[in-house]
Each structure stands twice: as structure tokens, then as C-alpha cells.
């Protein structure tokens, strides 16, 4: 392998952060504090994860692997909940959506023999799936919220005609699922043309034959499509009820 990054080269690479800082300062964007905190967090979190993964890979225990997966999903749900605003049961809905979308996708991959149930494969893949599902769910929440606000009158009209809350919301639910899935579909369309995505770049970096690397990337594309669609569908169908009370009356936003 031909990997040259070490402590010294990383320190030099930090000048790249300085570029961002100078831009923020010079253009009065006011992101300096956010930038510094985010960089520090990234460094600390990644170091902890690095050592933790080394330990878990070494132990190679099924329960520990499952626990690690659960922690990833829990963190993803916590983050998605922030996008949910005042949504009732925002955390629970996010957790269920991410757990099921990650579980089903991962289960299919393992059953198909595409990946093995060993920590060094399961944990990184869980992270990829859960984070994409999390982003998709966050986008769906934002779309639900925006549409229940903008499309309030049409929803009321449907309710007044005797539609159930679900019938009155179905157009909004569909649009929000679409919004959640759109980035994954768009990035699948430009895959290889605009960017050489993470998984593939990583393998090429590590010296794997590019033709082998693209196969993994194709696998990742399939699994992210499954994860984001499942995540958005589950989250939207569980979340729309939060915009109504128990008499199926649309709440003020």
C-alpha cells in the first residue's frame, strides 16, 4: 500500500482550514467559531473512533458489533430529530426509520454475500447507510413542514370534503419522500462523471484495481437507494400525523 499520510503531513494540511477561516473572516460570514469547533470535533471524534474500531476489529465479537451498530443508529436518529423541529415523537420516528432502513439494507447485503458479518465490514457500511438515511429523513421532515405550511389551504379543503388525515396529506407525503430520495438519485446519475465517490476513491487509494473498486461503488449506490427510500417512506408515514390532533384537525404551524 502506498498511503503516505502521517501526523506531520496532517499538520501541514491544517493550513487548508486556515483558508476557510480567512475567507470567513474577510467576507464577514461569521462562521469562524463554527469552523473551529467543527474541525476540533472532527479531529477528536475521528481519533476516538479510530482507536475504538481498532479495538473492536481486534476483539471481533458479534454482540460488540451489534452494540456499535446500535450506537451509530442512535446518533443518526438524534441528529435527524434536530431537523424534525417540534415534530411529536421526532426521535422515536427517526430511530425506527433509520433502524429499519439500515437493518433491511444491511440484511440483504449480508444474505446476498456481498459483505460479511465481520466488524471491519459491517460497522463502516452501517455508518454509510445510517448517515445517508439520516440525511434523507432530515430532508423529508423539512419538506413535510414546509408543505404543511404552504399547502395548508388545500389540505383544509380536502379535510372539509371528508378526507381522512392520510388522504388529505398523501400529496405532501409523496412529495416529501421524493425530496428525501432526490439527492441519492441525483448523485447516482452523475456517479463517476462528477465525483469518484468515497468508497471507490478509498479502495483505489489503497491500491485496489479500479474495476474491482467500481463494483463496490455500484453496491454502495444500490444500498443507498434502498436505505434512503425506506428511511424517507417510514419517516414520512409516521410523521405526517404529528401535524394533526386526535380529531384529525390540522394544527397551526
Amino acid at each position: 500500500m502506498n498511503l503516505a499520510v502521517n501526523g506531520l503531513s496532517l499538520t501541514f494540511a491544517m493550513t487548508l482550514v486556515l483558508v476557510a477561516l480567512i475567507i470567513s473572516f474577510h467576507e464577514k460570514i461569521g462562521l469562524e467559531k463554527d469552523l473551529i469547533i467543527s474541525v476540533l470535533r472532527a479531529i477528536v471524534q475521528l481519533f476516538i473512533v479510530g482507536y475504538l474500531l481498532k479495538f473492536i476489529f481486534h476483539i471481533n465479537d458479534v454482540w460488540l458489533t451489534l452494540l456499535m451498530m446500535l450506537i451509530i443508529i442512535f446518533n443518526a436518529a438524534t441528529n435527524a430529530k434536530k431537523r424534525a423541529g417540534k415534530l411529536r415523537k421526532g426521535f422515536l420516528i427517526s430511530f425506527i426509520a433509520i433502524l429499519i432502513s439500515t437493518g433491511v439494507t444491511l440484511g440483504l447485503l449480508v444474505l446476498a454475500g456481498a459483505i460479511k458479518f465481520i466488524p471491519s465490514q459491517i460497522i463502516p457500511i452501517t455508518g454509510m447507510i445510517a448517515s445517508n438515511s439520516m440525511v434523507a429523513i432530515g430532508l423529508s421532515y423539512r419538506s413535510l413542514r414546509a408543505q404543511f405550511k404552504d399547502e395548508r389551504q388545500p389540505v383544509l379543503e380536502r379535510l372539509a370534503l371528508g378526507a381522512t388525515a392520510k388522504q388529505a396529506s398523501i400529496a405532501i407525503i409523496r412529495e416529501s419522500i421524493r425530496t428525501g430520495m432526490a439527492p441519492t438519485i441525483d448523485s447516482a446519475k452523475t456517479m463517476g462523471l462528477v465525483s469518484l465517490p468515497g468508497m471507490m476513491s478509498g479502495l483505489i487509494f489503497a491500491g485496489i484495481d479500479p474495476v474491482k473498486a467500481i463494483m463496490y461503488q455500484i453496491l454502495v449506490t444500490f444500498m443507498l437507494l434502498s436505505a434512503t427510500s425506506l428511511g424517507s417512506v417510514i419517516a414520512c408515514y409516521l410523521a405526517y400525523r404529528s401535524f394533526y390532533n386526535e380529531r384529525e384537525q390540522l394544527l397551526e404551524l
Binding site: 389551504q153 388545500p154 383544509l156 379543503e157 380536502r158 379535510l159 372539509a160 370534503l161 371528508g162 378526507a163 381522512t164 388525515a165 388522504q167 400529496a171 390532533n245 380529531r247 384529525e248 384537525q249 390540522l250
Partner: protein, 219 residues
């Protein structure tokens, strides 16, 4: 026969009182007109009767059954609310007129739709017509027949003739009268419009959230 009974109905939002202790009885097949200055709470009263808002206090009873004993959508199919300056949804006229069938899981009855369109003077209106190309009068008439393709027991009309020209207004008012007299649909109409006030039946007035008089008269 008493069809709708409203007792002690009040509504307030964020400490602001909109309606106070409204008591009202509506007979089956009658025509009730509610007037009053704007902002007095007339539309809120209709929305409460339509079960689109939760009352702060009081009860609404339909055919001797409290609203809460009906499932929300079943109740709203019986007590249908037609909005002031109704907005159509979806993209086409068809999206709106097929909707009442879709929510009931019943095949669309094209004959009934064409009959209803003809009754409000929209005889050649194609269902594929985009709603963005319709005039205000056409929209209001389509909204109205959307409410009555499955005749409700009570129809709540919220200033439905506002902004319509004389010709459109006459068509809408004649149709409403027909629904009341020939189909027996009970009407509760909120209006400022002098012509609509000439319609018929009983009139009540709401001022500052309270029912002030109940002059009963028939024309």
C-alpha cells in the same frame, strides 16, 4: 326536527376570545344565514361546526349524537364546508371532481359530474382543464359542486359569492337554493352580500363573538 344543536360553544386562541357561548339550533332542511361585521367570528363558527377546529368549550350535536362520536371524516362528509374563495387543489378540474369519489373508494360517476357541471352553467368544462386557467367564478362553482357530488346533510357556505360578478352570483345562489329546496340539504351561510341576505329562512347576527339577535322570518 332539530338536526344540529350547538350549546355554549366558545373558541379562543392565545388568550384572544373569538367566540363566546354560542347557542344555536338548526332544523333539518332549513336555511340559516349568519351575518355580522368582519372579524366577528362568523367563519370561525363555521369551521367549528365543520369540525375543522377544536372548540375551547361547548358541544356540537348532529342528529342527537355529539360530534366526538363520529369519526372525523364521516362527520365532515355529513357536514361539508365550502370555503370563502375556495382554492382548488391538484392540477386539473378532474383532480378536484374525482376526489370525493377517491376518498370513498367509489368508481368515478362521470354522468353525475357532468350533470353537476351543467347545473352551475359549466356544461362544456373538460376535466383535463388546468385549474390555473379558470376564472374566479369558475373556481368557486367547481368548489361548490365538489362539496355536493355526494350530498351532505348540512352545507356550510362561507361567503361563497364574494368577488363574483352578478351573473356568476345569480348562478351560484340559484344552485344553492335548488340544493336546499329540491335536495333538502340544510344550509348555513355566512354572508355580507345584500342579495344573498335576500335568500330565505332565518337570520342570526354575530357581533364580537356573540350571537346578538335571532330574528326569525321567512320569505
Amino acid at each position: 326536527m332539530t338536526q344540529l344543536k350547538i350549546e355554549q360553544l366558545s373558541y379562543q386562541v392565545d388568550q384572544q376570545v373569538i367566540l363566546t357561548d354560542i347557542n344555536l339550533t338548526v332544523e333539518t332542511g332549513s336555511y340559516l344565514t349568519i351575518t355580522g361585521p368582519s372579524g366577528s367570528g362568523k367563519s370561525t363558527l363555521l369551521r367549528l361546526i365543520a369540525d375543522l377546529l377544536p372548540p375551547t368549550k361547548g358541544t356540537i350535536v348532529l342528529n342527537d349524537r355529539p360530534v366526538t362520536q363520529f369519526s372525523p371524516n364521516q362527520y365532515r362528509q355529513k357536514v361539508s364546508y365550502c370555503f370563502q374563495q375556495a382554492t382548488l387543489f391538484g392540477e386539473t378540474v378532474g383532480d378536484n371532481l374525482r376526489f370525493p369519489y377517491e376518498i370513498r373508494h367509489i368508481p368515478v360517476d362521470m354522468v353525475a359530474i357532468e350533470k353537476a357541471l351543467a347545473a352551475v352553467g359549466l356544461i362544456h368544462m373538460p376535466l383535463t382543464k388546468k385549474i390555473t386557467t379558470l376564472s374566479g367564478g369558475e373556481k368557486q362553482r367547481i368548489a361548490l359542486i365538489r362539496n355536493v357530488l355526494f350530498p351532505p346533510e348540512i352545507l356550510l357556505l362561507d361567503e361563497i359569492t364574494t368577488g363574483l360578478d352578478a351573473a356568476n352570483k345569480a348562478i351560484v345562489l340559484a344552485y344553492v337554493r335548488h340544493l336546499n329546496e329540491d335536495w333538502g340539504i340544510t344550509m348555513i351561510a355566512v354572508t355580507h352580500d345584500p342579495e344573498e341576505l335576500q335568500q330565505k329562512g332565518r337570520q342570526v347576527q354575530i357581533v364580537a363573538g356573540e350571537l346578538v339577535n335571532q330574528d326569525e322570518f321567512s320569505r
